[in-house]
Amino acid sequence: MAKREEYIDKEKKEKGKKLFGIFPAQYPREILWAMNVLPVEIWDPPLEVIHANAHLQPYICSVVRLGLELILQGKCEGLDGFLFPHTCDSIQNLSSIVSDYLGVKKPCYFFYHPKSPYQDSSRVYYLEQLKGLVARLEKQLGPLDSSQLKHRVQQGQEVARVLKQLYDLRVQGELEASNADFYRVVRRGEYLSPDDFLPLLEEFLAAAKGSAQGGPAVIMSGVLPNPKEILTLLDELGVRIAHDDLLNCSRRLLVPPSRADDPFEALTESYFAMPPCTTKDSSVSERVDDLLAKVEQSNAKGVIFYMVKFCEPELFDVPQLTGELRKRGVATLLIDCELNQNLSGQLATRVEAFFEMIS
């Protein structure tokens, strides 16, 4: 399959799609698909930071720093717009730097999702937010075709269903794929159209079915599996990531299907049924329960908290989560690093020591 840049370029030129740069994390991608937009997510572009430091203090996470760097290096010229979901304080202010200060001559859209604990008012509001976003997009993209939306919502559910199958097989130790391969494929969904992502997932599912290697199972929690070296290191050690609690993977991809007929209702139902997440202010108890359930299902021996340095939403929950897991005899490892940096020798040694502990 074509590389990310080539693919995106082709989608624009050959299929006439509009391209939107999407900042983390949760957003109604089905609406964009239905409006002939290819959402291209910006999580961890492989760049050297040169310009972003003039706008951001050193204590800001590298997701935000790299995202801004991508814009400042002129690599977003081909985009037709940006979308900023309201994920955390840093993304919130980044959205304003981009739209208010950088003189970026592209439409910037914002998406506020209600925070937990949810009440009736939250549901009404979410639905209105979806419709409000459509109304704003329509000014740039023309009217939304309701049958297209319905189709894309169904397609989104299909993607979630196949992903769930993949995750289930992994939990049961019935997926041969390495950690690195698994996340390479899952993360393709950050820029592929569902028309291409779905067949890719199905193909992968068919090819990768089979017994996983016999080493210990772990769960990975955090924002995203980057630096990627951790995946290879775990592969080398024979450790299988049997499930994850990653913001850019299971927390937003494993969406339970909705039976609602109305596509807006279905999207609303899905949002509120998503796994607990720091960026939605889910309670600590919900997160503890969710992690414990994952540990139990997959018979994992440990949980690796793979933190992006300076990520407040995640870092606040870690002490309670590790405390509860350890009380139940589950080993934990906390790693805090910048994106796209090689794992230091010291970190690798810690991972190896952790592996020995759980083996």
């Binding site: 203090q57 309201h86 730097i97 200060y101």
Partner: protein, 437 residues
């Protein structure tokens, strides 16, 4: 039990503590204060402020069991809680106090010892440090029955209060205020009104009291008047020389944060306002030789307030405006006793930190003009991402558009370990030179 505690609380509130404080005032040995020649005469209201805040913290020891106790974030619509007679405690204000008393870092270390990263907001780490160790300069904190947070100042408070909810095993109410990316829409207001209405049964249950609409309106009236008076207090600094410095205002802010909606806050600001107006009439300045007027951006560096205040005053530079102190005056005029829920939604969601950076820039531009500001000091606070991200751009824009020189101090609000004396000195020297050029 409740009856005894309640009687004890009211006795201490109305008689015991005032008598105790009078006694301690009388017996306190008065050391003659060394008057610094850079400063004008100190404000006499400061004594009253100390009395009010000391009483507030002392009373908190008697609140547990006598009144429902809520821990509240500084930007939450406390007016609703006051209608149920909650005793309210403000961890952020307490964090500032710990910072000012230079015990912030050691309390942070307690939280860090329990696994809380040093990269988290220091108000939160201090508060968690207090929860885990029981140590606080105010003696003891009342255990909460309820936690009340609003994300109109940051998302951090919610992460922090979730930890508190888990630690204390008490309910957490969140007032979720959609961020003002461009404009607040009707649907945002309805969402917030809906949430406020949904809170009432929870508050009734926790407090054991029925919602009293009339009392709610009274509280809103008091809160609005106090905030407007606070706004007038700040506006006295438009005078030349300014009768007060922003460093004083950081201290005088405590009642509007912690006692908003109570008569004591309003009465206090009326007294302070009278004193300031009187000083303006007589031409008494906060510093004796006010040559330059500055604006402060972000929360105070609590452990350095006195030090910084001296450094600037020595050079005839006075801080006359701050985005931070302004926050409790800016949007409160929206409050309307006839539409309490809608008006609370507006007043609380339009505050500076829930607003896009363009709004912040415009506010700063206005303050520069109205207060005759010659220079800007930007505190880049490691703790506070919503206040700090975007400051470098604001600095550049203010220079480009208004020609206002500025300096960034990289520091923290309450954790002195990250303060670099050397770096600050070098930056300030360059700034002083630019100001004199």
């Amino acid at each position: 039990m409740y009856l005894i505690k309640n009687l004890q609380y009211h006795f201490m509130k109305d008689l015991g503590l005032p008598a105790l404080m009078r006694f301690s005032q009388r017996t306190k040995k008065r050391r003659p204060k060394k008057l610094d020649t850079c400063f004008g005469p100190p404000l006499t209201s400061t004594g009253r402020l100390k009395e009010i805040m000391t009483r507030h913290y002392l009373l908190s020891r008697y609140a547990e069991g006598a009144r429902p106790v809520a821990w509240v974030t500084s930007g939450a619509p406390v007016e609703l809680l006051r209608a149920f007679e909650f005793y309210t405690f403000y961890p952020e204000n307490h964090g500032a106090l710990c910072g000012a008393q230079k015990v912030g870092s050691e309390l942070c270390e307690v939280a860090e010892g329990k696994g809380y990263s040093q990269d988290l907001c220091s108000y939160a780490r201090i508060d968690l440090g207090v929860c885990f160790s029981g140590r606080t300069p105010v003696g003891k904190l009342p255990k909460p029955d309820l936690l009340f947070a609003s994300n109109n100042i940051c998302q951090t408070v919610v992460y922090w209060y979730k930890v508190l909810a888990y630690h204390w095993k008490v309910p957490l109410i969140l007032f979720d205020t959609p961020y003002n990316f461009k404009d607040i829409a009707d649907s945002d207001i309805s969402y917030m009104v809906g949430q406020l209405e949904e809170m009432i049964p929870v508050l009734e249950e926790v407090s054991g009291k029925e919602f009293n609409y009339q009392r709610f309106q009274d509280v809103i009236r008091l809160a609005k008047e106090a905030s407007l008076t606070w706004g007038e207090v700040l506006a006295t600094m438009k005078a030349r020389p300014a009768p007060m410095t922003i460093f004083d205002a950081f201290g005088h802010l405590a009642p509007i944060v912690s006692l908003r909606g109570l008569p004591v806050a309003l009465n206090y600001y009326r007294v302070l306002l009278n004193e300031l107006n009187d000083r303006v009439k007589k031409g008494i300045g906060a510093i004796t030789d006010e040559r330059k007027r500055l604006m402060w951006d972000n929360i105070a560096i609590w452990y350095k307030v006195r030090d910084l205040s001296n450094r600037f005053a020595e050079r005839g530079m006075n801080f006359v405006a701050a985005t931070y102190t302004n926050a409790w005056a800016e949007t409160i005029s929206y409050l309307d006793i006839n539409h309490p829920f809608e008006s609370l939604a507006k007043a609380y969601s339009l505050v500076i930190l829930n607003n896009n950076l363009n709004h912040r820039f415009e506010l700063m531009e206005r303050l520069v003009k109205e207060y005759g500001v010659d220079g800007l000091v930007i505190h880049s606070a490691r703790s506070c991402k919503p206040y700090s991200v975007g400051q470098y751009d604001i600095k550049r824009l203010l220079m480009d558009r208004l020609g206002v020189p500025s300096v960034v101090i990289e520091a923290d609000i309450a954790d002195s370990r990250v303060f670099s004396e050397e770096q600050t000195r070098t930056r300030l020297e360059a700034f002083f030179e630019a100001m004199e050029a």
